[in-house]
């Protein structure tokens, strides 16, 4: 029974579906660590997906498509940062507004520029090819699991590893974590709090627009309306579950990617209506966050009780 659903194809599917969520989770992590909640990841991803297709279509190059996507992410991130930090806008509202903006403007431009509704695909859009990593590809099983993806998948792994190194081995990482812990204390220590926050938001914009480019040029070679489909929010959930660490966030994203991949597999299975199956990727984050909070609460309680008993016993 289980072997019917767990095979190499589903593991590959898991990694493919997890990639955009992982990138969003990294965006959620850097902003989260610096004390900012960026709900706008979702919209930045959608805009990235759209502008990747636009860039690829007009310039005929997949990497230029990615560049245009990253530029859109950078602009949205700067707007987010300026509006919330300089113009005192409500941070969650601006996130929601960016998401609504992305949804409205991509549909608007689809019709205005390409005269299509719903989806845009064209032979002129250049997508990514899969890349097989030499040596690794020839290892049995592992080669199939680790090799044979489009370049952004490998890029996302590189980003996770470098985020881990930056966060825990460099002064910049220490500063970033310090700003989130206590902005005022960091300020007195001479850390440029504003600069760090701007950097964090810009990184989140770049990561999520890269995720968008992956959706429209890596997975499919087309743009469809609302194609980010909550993956930005899944990234936020993955970051909470991953406790604000790069590796934790990546592992949590893999779980969500697995749910996505499983739902796609089960969809063809006629005994369960597809709507019920498709609920798994949405219901799982809620369940996981619930379990996570219950455990955290318990730990906190145990910690308090231990300390109190220590105090009482006079040690």
């Amino acid at each position: 029974m289980l072997s019917k659903f767990i095979d190499i194809a589903i593991i590959q599917g898991t990694i493919r579906m997890a990639t955009p969520i992982m990138l969003a989770a990294m965006g959620a992590m850097v902003t989260g660590l610096s004390g900012i909640i960026n709900i706008g990841l979702e919209g930045m991803m959608l805009l990235g997906a759209f502008f990747a297709v636009v860039g690829s279509y007009y310039f005929g190059s997949v990497w230029l498509g990615v560049a245009v996507a990253l530029l859109s992410g950078l602009i949205m991130a700067l707007l987010f940062a300026i509006f919330t930090m300089k113009f005192r806008a409500h941070i969650i509202l601006i996130g929601i507004t960016i998401n609504a903006f992305a949804l409205a403007i991509t549909v608007y431009f689809l019709r205005d520029w390409f005269n299509v509704a719903g989806a845009f695909s064209d032979n002129a859009i250049v997508g990514f090819n899969t890349v097989k990593i030499p040596i690794i590809k020839s290892i049995p099983i592992l080669g199939d699991i680790l090799s044979g993806y489009t370049p952004i998948v490998y890029l996302s792994w590189l980003i996770i590893i470098s985020m881990h190194i930056i966060l825990y081995k460099t002064p910049l990482g220490r500063h970033l974590r310090a700003v989130g812990e206590n902005a005022e204390a960091s300020e007195t220590l001479g850390i440029k709090v504003k600069g760090i926050k701007y950097l964090a938001v810009i990184l989140s914009g770049i990561f999520s627009s890269l995720a968008g480019a992956y959706l429209s040029l890596g997975q499919l070679t087309m743009f469809t309306e609302n194609m980010s489909a909550n993956r930005g929010f899944l990234g936020l959930a993955a970051n909470i579950f991953g406790m604000g660490t790069p590796i934790g966030g990546a592992l949590a994203s893999l779980i969500f990617g697995f749910a996505d991949s499983l739902a796609m597999r089960l969809q063809g299975w006629e005994t369960i209506p597809s709507q019920i199956v498709l609920m798994i990727p949405s219901a799982l984050p809620i369940l996981i966050l619930l379990i996570f909070s219950v455990r955290k609460k318990k730990e906190l309680k145990n910690f308090k009780e231990e300390n109190i008993s220590k105090l009482l016993s006079g040690k």
């Binding site: 113009f87 601006i94 609504a100 205005d112 909550n230 959930a237 709507q275």
Partner: protein, 361 residues
């Protein structure tokens, strides 16, 4: 009279006005790039929104659900939570109203309509209870849970209209509700129902409750200064919990009124975005019930205006959403207009100086 004018806080109005101006300016860049004269397009939009009976009726139809959803957002926000789940709660309300409308037979309208709406209200409140319990009992982030619950509501209603509540194999939709459950329409030529009257009355009641009653005072205190609230014996957590439930109830009502007034049946492609636009409109109205009421009426107009523009020109009707988003962007960014306030002082000072000079002379 002069004192009355002086007592009004003009700032929100100035911010709204400048934001509107900026958004229209950006919108006109889009229009020029598509080869249209923005002034003509905006005129067309205005006519399509507010000139002629059919257009006005259409605008009111668009505004009806938005009045409810923006109130739902406001109720939650004033008690300290951001209810992004309005969208899903509205879907649950709509399908509950549809079920009550087509399965309870033989009731007179006077009972059937309120009963169906009650189903919608309960469905919305129950659906809001999930994130509320998760948030206030288990401390799970409500933003993520409500977003996920929105997709679950879309899928769940889609499942219902595809399987248990499906009328016929032809199309994924429920049967039509009985005549006795339909909200009476105001005219024969448009889909606007008495729902708009309920919505306006509701908004005014909400304004009154908020402004004049102790409950309103409690929620205001919690929303604005929760530590003070705790100090004075009002539980912020409990108020926020009930605020979320009431918010969900109102979102459900929005779905019920939309279904019983406009569509009469739940189809798989029930309109989305009413909840999210409710958030934007609550902000467009500067976070007050009456402000949101006018913002919803205004935006309902923009929507039907953009529809007219879409028919006549090649400018997509998403122009309305785009303009709304831009306006909220600027209205939210209060600090953007900081340079405006010293101008007034400067202006007044000059006037005073002048007056002083004249006096001395």
């Amino acid at each position: 009279m002069k004192e009355f004018i002086n007592n009004i806080n003009w700032r929100p109005f100035i911010i709204i006005f400048l934001s509107l101006l900026l958004s229209l300016l950006i919108g006109s860049i889009f229009m020029i790039s598509s080869g249209y004269n923005p002034l003509n397009v905006y005129l067309m939009m205005f006519q399509g929104a507010f000139i002629g009976k059919i257009n006005i009726m259409n605008s009111l139809k668009n505004a009806t659900p938005l009045i409810f959803t923006s109130m739902a957002v406001l109720i939650a926000f004033r008690t300290g939570t951001f209810n992004i789940g309005v969208e899903g709660q509205l879907f649950m309300g709509a399908i509950a109203a549809a079920w009550a409308g087509f399965s309870l037979e033989g009731l007179p309208s006077i009972i059937h309509i309120p009963l169906s709406l009650l189903f919608a209200i309960i469905a919305g409140a129950l659906y809001a209870m999930i994130p509320a319990i998760l948030k206030f009992k288990f401390n799970v982030n409500e933003i993520i849970t409500t977003i996920m619950l929105n997709s679950i509501a879309f899928l769940f209603t889609s499942y219902l209209v595809n399987y248990p509540l499906r009328e016929s194999p032809m199309a994924p939709q429920t049967p039509k509700v009985f005549e006795s459950a339909r909200l009476p329409r105001l005219t024969d030529s448009s889909q606007v129902s008495v729902g708009i009257i309920i919505a306006v009355i509701f908004a005014v009641i909400f304004w009154f409750v908020f402004k004049k009653t102790t409950f309103g005072f409690r929620t205001r205190v919690v929303g604005e200064a929760s530590s003070f609230a705790e100090f004075s014996g009002i539980s912020p957590v409990r108020t926020a919990f009930y605020g979320m439930l009431i918010s969900g109830a109102v979102a459900g009502l929005a779905g019920g009124v939309e279904l019983l007034g406009v569509h009469y049946r739940f189809v798989e492609l029930f309109p989305t975005g009413l909840g999210f636009n409710g958030i934007l409109i609550a902000w467009l109205g500067k976070g007050t019930p009456l402000g949101a009421l006018f913002a919803a009426l205004f935006y309902g107009g923009i929507q039907s205006g953009a529809m007219t523009v879409d028919w006549i020109t090649s400018i997509p009707r998403q122009l309305s959403d785009t303009l709304l988003v831009l306006m909220v962007f600027f209205i939210a960014a209060e600090g953007m207009f900081d340079w405006v306030w010293p101008l007034k002082k400067k202006f007044l000072n000059k006037k005073d100086q002048k007056a002083g000079v004249e006096k001395n002379a």
